[in-house]
Amino acid sequence: MNPFALIGRSTMNLLAHIGRLSVFTGTALAAIVAPPIYWKMIGQQIMRIGYFSLPVVGLTAFFTGGALALQIFLGGNRFGTEAVVPQIVVLGITRELGPVIAGLMVAGRVAAAIAAEIGTMKVTEQIDALTTLATNPIKYLVVPRLIAAVLCMPILVAIADSIGVFGGYVVATQSMGFSGGTYLKNTVDFATQADIVSGLIKAGVFGFIIALMGCYHGFNSRGGAQGVGSATTSAVVSSSILILAANYLLTSLLFSQ
């Protein structure tokens, strides 16, 4: 096969994807402001996206905070670790690890679930059925998920931040013999509002990416169970990559003075 033809075709495919995604995003954003608003659907999605993600996000945050504390302690033996460990833990968790880990975990859980659900609705003509019942599928399915994800992710990350710091605290006090009071004081003195807020802004953006990718791939799934399967995979992979890329971008935007 001619390599140029291959490159040409992949480029065309990529451009077509970007074009379709842009149109989809535009339609979804326009639908957010237009009535009617499906409050019940938003509530339902907040439960599914936010509440049911709590255990996964909490557990991963706890272990990440603990591992981070341990690394700094082991690697930073020569410095005054009693002050450095809590400071780096809180900085690392609130600025980077909290939002990124929560983002990736929720991407795995929620983007997959959204893509599978909407994909199934697509291939079984349930989406077409919505249209014939005078209900706009974008407003009924996509908007509630976008709103719920953008609202829930910052809350999840705020909780992940606290649990991550707590994970560091547990490891520091239990296996490094740090004093609990000093650890907390160092944490609170060192963390600034900007650290926390930047993480929460990232979280909101990640929530948008997760819901958008789930919905987009669901809506574009074709041809039965296999199509739904690959839509699910694409939703998780693309949202994870976009989260990491957006994280870099946001870090450079938010912290470049």
């Binding site: 499906y38 349930q126 077409d128 059925a129 249209t131 014939t132 019942l133 005078a134 209900t135």
Partner: protein, 255 residues
């Protein structure tokens, strides 16, 4: 009299594959038209084009004389309220109980109160021969024939002016198919609606239609009163209604 639905030169292709190649079709108010044709000839695409689910590449679609080919948003929602549709696979929403499926267009599309919509849903379920306790079940708990009935109840819930049936009897046993045919014939008459159905089941076509049109090669190649179908003089129609492998229609054995 203004035709209820009119298609003029409707064309649609997917990639390089031409599916509709200039479909012209007129459906009079309160008539029941059936489109027949082989699998994959574009019958569903025709219906979905009228409903705006698929955008045709060329041509015009009129409903009550109004050009709806390119309308969007609130204007389309308004026109959609004239339609009811029974999908090939019933397409029931599996996350909500049967009665809410039937009431969906009333609650979400028209903003009716749930209690009132529920009463109407139960009435419509009764009309298709289902009892009130079926209303509390979820779609996965129903057999194929019952799902079709629920789909029919949902299609007629808002007393639409126009009802579409996409292969209403495909996949049902012959007796259930006949039950569905009777239901379609009687509900269309009761509601006083205009009906457009698609099928490749000739028994069903004869029973529910007063006119038949045949889609082949992306065009309507014959149409006429149901009574004339056996003396159409069209070799394509003859081959199709008699189910013969030999004739002008060549089936691609490998897709």
């Amino acid at each position: 009299m203004t035709p209820k639905i009119q298609l003029i030169g409707v064309k649609k292709r997917f990639g390089s594959k031409v599916v509709l190649d200039g479909v012209d079709l007129t459906i009079e108010p309160r008539s029941s038209l059936v489109i027949i044709g082989g699998s994959g000839t574009g019958k569903s695409v025709t219906i979905k084009s009228i409903l705006g689910i698929i955008r045709p590449d060329e041509g015009t679609i009129l409903v009550d004389g109004e050009d709806i080919t390119h309308i969007k948003g609130a204007a389309r929602d308004r026109v959609m309220k004239k339609f009811g549709m029974l999908f090939q696979g019933a397409a029931l929403f599996d996350s909500i109980p049967v009665w809410e499926n039937v009431a969906f267009g009333l609650i979400q599309g028209r903003g009716m109160k749930r209690s009132q919509a529920r009463d109407i849903a139960m009435q419509k379920l009764a009309k298709v021969g289902l009892t009130a306790d079926v209303g509390e079940l979820f779609p996965v708990e129903l057999s194929g024939g019952m799902q079709k009935r629920v789909g029919l109840a949902r299609a007629i819930a808002a007393d639409p002016e126009i009802i579409f049936f996409d292969e209403p009897t495909t996949g049902l046993d012959p007796i259930m198919a006949d039950v569905i045919n009777d239901l379609i014939a009687s509900t269309v008459k009761d509601v006083g609606a205009t009906a457009l159905s698609i099928t490749h089941d000739m028994a069903s076509a004869r029973k529910i239609s007063d006119r038949i049109a045949m889609l082949y090669g992306g065009k309507i190649i014959w149409q006429g009163p149901t009574a004339d179908i056996d003396k159409s003089g069209n070799p394509y129609v003859d081959q199709f209604i008699n189910g013969r492998a030999e004739g002008p229609i060549k089936m691609a054995v490998k897709a």
